[in-house]
Every structure is written in structure tokens, then in C-alpha cells.
């Protein structure tokens, strides 16, 4: 079993499946989303939908502050979260004298994990590690098995139930639904053309910063130190550390409260980390089943 173990032993540094690109390999790029300068304008949501021609998906007034998009899914690859709080932004009192209000805004996106559960579990090789170190669903391959949907620790991916706008299903199936899974591609096509992703370009205050991951991590550390010096409440980086449960995010964040307040898991771990143990467990179970049935067949009467 140790072969399996070694094979799956994640080299913590590099994203898996990236080293195969050899000279085609580009510098790993990603997002650093600094929510302390996010003005909640949702330009990123629109830029993403305009560029990727994503169908609009429902006009529901949720009452959840100014967020009527609610979550990342097949038709929303950028989602701005809004959380109004009776807490001061800086130190002990800011905003109006008495209570001290703050309004957290965060543009959520796929994390493009170093060890990506969706990528690992995808049975068709539709999800793949690109030469930029990002994780992309190939729409000409995905057969809508949906395994990546529950595998993602952040709940980013989803199957599109709307009518297909590209590569429609064959008529004889009588199905209209697109049926494939969609998520942020970190603008894989734009990167191929040497352009920056649409959301990063549109962001008016550069809350969304795109660039080489290492450089972004340094910038984030400096930013965190500055906010600490300015006594901002709750400032913390989320997904910056390559030793975290998914080997570090390709798109990480500076938050002003605990991750769960934004709908993010406090300690996400890629499920593949426990897969070797599961496989060994399965083989044991299979062996027991084989032996058990055999034994029960032989030991005992025919009738």
C-alpha cells in the first residue's frame, strides 16, 4: 500500500499535475482578494458574466443585505458577500459614534487549490491543471457526473440546469439542460492571450489583484502588517499558507472576520488527503467480503 501512499503523497509546494508541462509551464498565477478595500460594487460579478457569456440565473430578492446572488454556482463564478455588523472597522470606535458599524464586503471565487479535490475526483479528466497552475473544467469533456460538486470543500462548483447555450446535448436525448459543471477558469482563454482576468481588470479599487502567486503572497503579508499597525479589527489572511489543508490557495483572501462569517470553511482540507487510507480500507473490506462469502458458502449446509 505504501506505493499508493507515495504516489498520492502530495509534494506540498507545487500544484499537482503542473510539472508535466515542462517548458510549456508558465509562472503560477492567482488572485489575492483584499476585502479591506472592496466597495461591494459587483463589477467583478458582471465582468465575469460578460466575458464568459454566463446566462443570468434568477432575480430573487434575498433580503441578505445587498447580496441577491447568494452563492457561487454554475452561473455565478464571482459572488460578492455583504455582512453588516455592529462592530467597529478600526479599533474601538468608528462609523457613527454610538454603535460603530462596519459593512464587510468580499468577492468570493474558486480557490484554484494547490491540491484540488474537484480535480482529483474528476473521473473523465475534464477538470485539469493548466500550464498556469490554475484548475479548469473542459466543457468539451465534462459529462456532468457531478462528483466534483460535493468534493469541493468550498462548494464552488455546480451543475448547470439552464438550457445549454454552447455545445447543446444531442436532440435525440430530448434534454434541454446544459448538464455540465461550470466554475471560474481564472480566464484561462484570456491568460492564453496574455491578458489579465476580466474581474481583476474591472475591479475599481484593486481589491482583486491578479499576478504571480509568490508576489501576491508577499504583498498580502505586507498588507496584513499595515492593517495590523492601523489597528483594523479581525484582519487575517485566508489560504495564504502553503501548508494548509489544500496546499495553499491559488486565490486567497484578506478577511476582516472569521471565514465562516463569509460562508467559507474555517479549516478546509482536500478530501484526497485521506484517500490512501480509504483505498486501503476498501481493499480490506473487499478482502473480508470475498473471504466471508466464501467461508459462509463452505462452512455450513448446502440447504
Amino acid at each position: 500500500m505504501n506505493l499508493l501512499q507515495d504516489l498520492l503523497e502530495q509534494p506540498t509546494g507545487d500544484p499537482d499535475g503542473w510539472d508535466a508541462y515542462g517548458d510549456e509551464q508558465q509562472e503560477r498565477v492567482g488572485f489575492f482578494t483584499d476585502t479591506s478595500v472592496c466597495i461591494g460594487c459587483k463589477a467583478c460579478e458582471v465582468a465575469c458574466k460578460e466575458w464568459n457569456l454566463i446566462p443570468e440565473d434568477g432575480r430573487v430578492w434575498t433580503g441578505e443585505s445587498y447580496d441577491h446572488t447568494s452563492q457561487l454556482d454554475a452561473n455565478t463564478w464571482r459572488h460578492v458577500a455583504f455582512v453588516e455588523q455592529r462592530k467597529p472597522l478600526i479599533g474601538d470606535g468608528n462609523g457613527d459614534g454610538s454603535t460603530g458599524l462596519r459593512w464587510l464586503m468580499e468577492s468570493d471565487v474558486c480557490k484554484h487549490c494547490t491540491h484540488a479535490a474537484c480535480l482529483d475526483v474528476c473521473p473523465t479528466g475534464s477538470l485539469f491543471r493548466t500550464e498556469f497552475g490554475t484548475v479548469v473544467v473542459q466543457q468539451d469533456i465534462c459529462n456532468g457526473c457531478g462528483y466534483c460538486v460535493p468534493a469541493c470543500p468550498f462548494g464552488v462548483l455546480d451543475k448547470r440546469h439552464l438550457e445549454a447555450t454552447t455545445d447543446p446535448p444531442p436532440a435525440f436525448l430530448g434534454r434541454k439542460e446544459d448538464g455540465r459543471v461550470w466554475k471560474c477558469t481564472l480566464c484561462y482563454d484570456r491568460l492564453k492571450g496574455g491578458h489579465e482576468p476580466a474581474c481583476a481588470k474591472a475591479c475599481p479599487t484593486k481589491s482583486i489583484q491578479f499576478g504571480p502567486l509568490e508576489e501576491l503572497r508577499e504583498r498580502a503579508d505586507a498588507r496584513l502588517a499595515k492593517l495590523e499597525a492601523e489597528n483594523w479589527n479581525g484582519a487575517q489572511l485566508y489560504g495564504r499558507d502553503p501548508d494548509d489543508g489544500v496546499g495553499g490557495f491559488g486565490a486567497f483572501f484578506l478577511l476582516l472576520d472569521e471565514p465562516e462569517v463569509y460562508g467559507l470553511p474555517p479549516d478546509p482540507v482536500v478530501t484526497t488527503r485521506d484517500l490512501p487510507e480509504m483505498w486501503t480500507n476498501m481493499l480490506a473490506a473487499a478482502g473480508t467480503l470475498l473471504a466471508g462469502v466464501a467461508a459462509l458458502t463452505f462452512l455450513g449446509r448446502r440447504g
Binding site: L7, D16, G17, W18, D19, A20, Y21, E24, C41, K42, A43, E45, V46, A47, E50, W51, L119, D120, G125, S126, F128, R129, T130, E131, V136, Q138, D140, I141, C187, Y188, D189, R190, K192, G193, H195, A198, K201, A202, C203, P204, K206
Partner: protein, 189 residues
Amino acid sequence: MALSKLLESWPVLRQLREGDPLGLGKAVQSPRSQMLVPRIDEAEHVVHSICPYCAVGCGQLVYVRDGEVTHIEGDPASPISRGRLCPKGQASKSYVQSPLREYKVKYRRPYGTRWEELSLDDAMDMIADRIVETRAKTWRKKTGGGAPANRTMAIGNLGGATLDNEENYLIKKLMTALGIVQVENQARI
């Protein structure tokens, strides 16, 4: 022949050949992904434009192919916006291609209960006639108090802070010459 091509392209084999045993990267990349090209690189021409929404005046790049706008995004050259846009500016393509956009003249007859078709030229003639006629009937050389007026108070023009300077110039020039003084726009609102 087909078999060899299949074997050569079958990712299972590429997993071994291209050093991607887990099948997470290059081996599973499809030809379509490999040759992906961004839409803006396939545009026939790009036009420098300015966002039609608020007065910040963000620069926009409008990409065109086969006579259609294929994409609109920020113009990095603009010193004001530096390539950035707000949600409205970024939705400009969906605005100019809105599902509710009107492309035909619509005419409602007096006391009518539905819209009717009308050609653009007929509409222009009918509007010109109405202006000439209404103006003639309601012309005031002098005000009630005898002061000079040279105007008609029976016609007004509203708009528009959303229009170009050149358009506003022609409107004010034409209306003044016609003696139409009730000319207003959103600057007042």
C-alpha cells in the same frame, strides 16, 4: 490509421508518456483547451469609447467582429479609470444588446389602445408637420405684458444629459431658431 491516432491521443497512454501518471494535468488537456484563443484576440477592430452611464467618464474598449460588438471592457490607457469599470460600465455590451431593446419605430394614434408600425421616414415627416403646425398656431410675438417674446409656449424638448455635446448643440440651436424655449434636461433634476 484511426487506431494509431486514437492510441496516440488517448489520455490514458498520454498519462504514462507525458509524465502525468495521476492524469491531472497535461495528459488530460483536450485539443480545444490547448488551442484556446480569447474572443478579444479574434476581433476585427477595437474602438476607444467612453462609458455611457455616470460622469466619471471611464474609458472603454469596444471589440467588434462581423459588425457586432463581441466584448466591452475598460480602456487601460485612460488616466481616470486605468482600465477599470463599475458593474454598469462592465454591462455595457448587455445594455447595447439588451433583450428589451427597440429597433422599430412605434406609433400610437390618439385614443389608440395599442402600438402600430410606422416607417422612420413617415414618422419624421409627421413630426416635422406637427412642429410646424403647432408652432404656427401658438406663436407669441409679444407676452401678455407687451414685452417681446418671439416664441411658442406649446412645445417643449426634454433631454439630455445622456446625449453627446454635439447632439445637445444641435438641439439648442434648432429649438432656439424655432422659438421653442422650454428646453430642459437632467442637469436640472
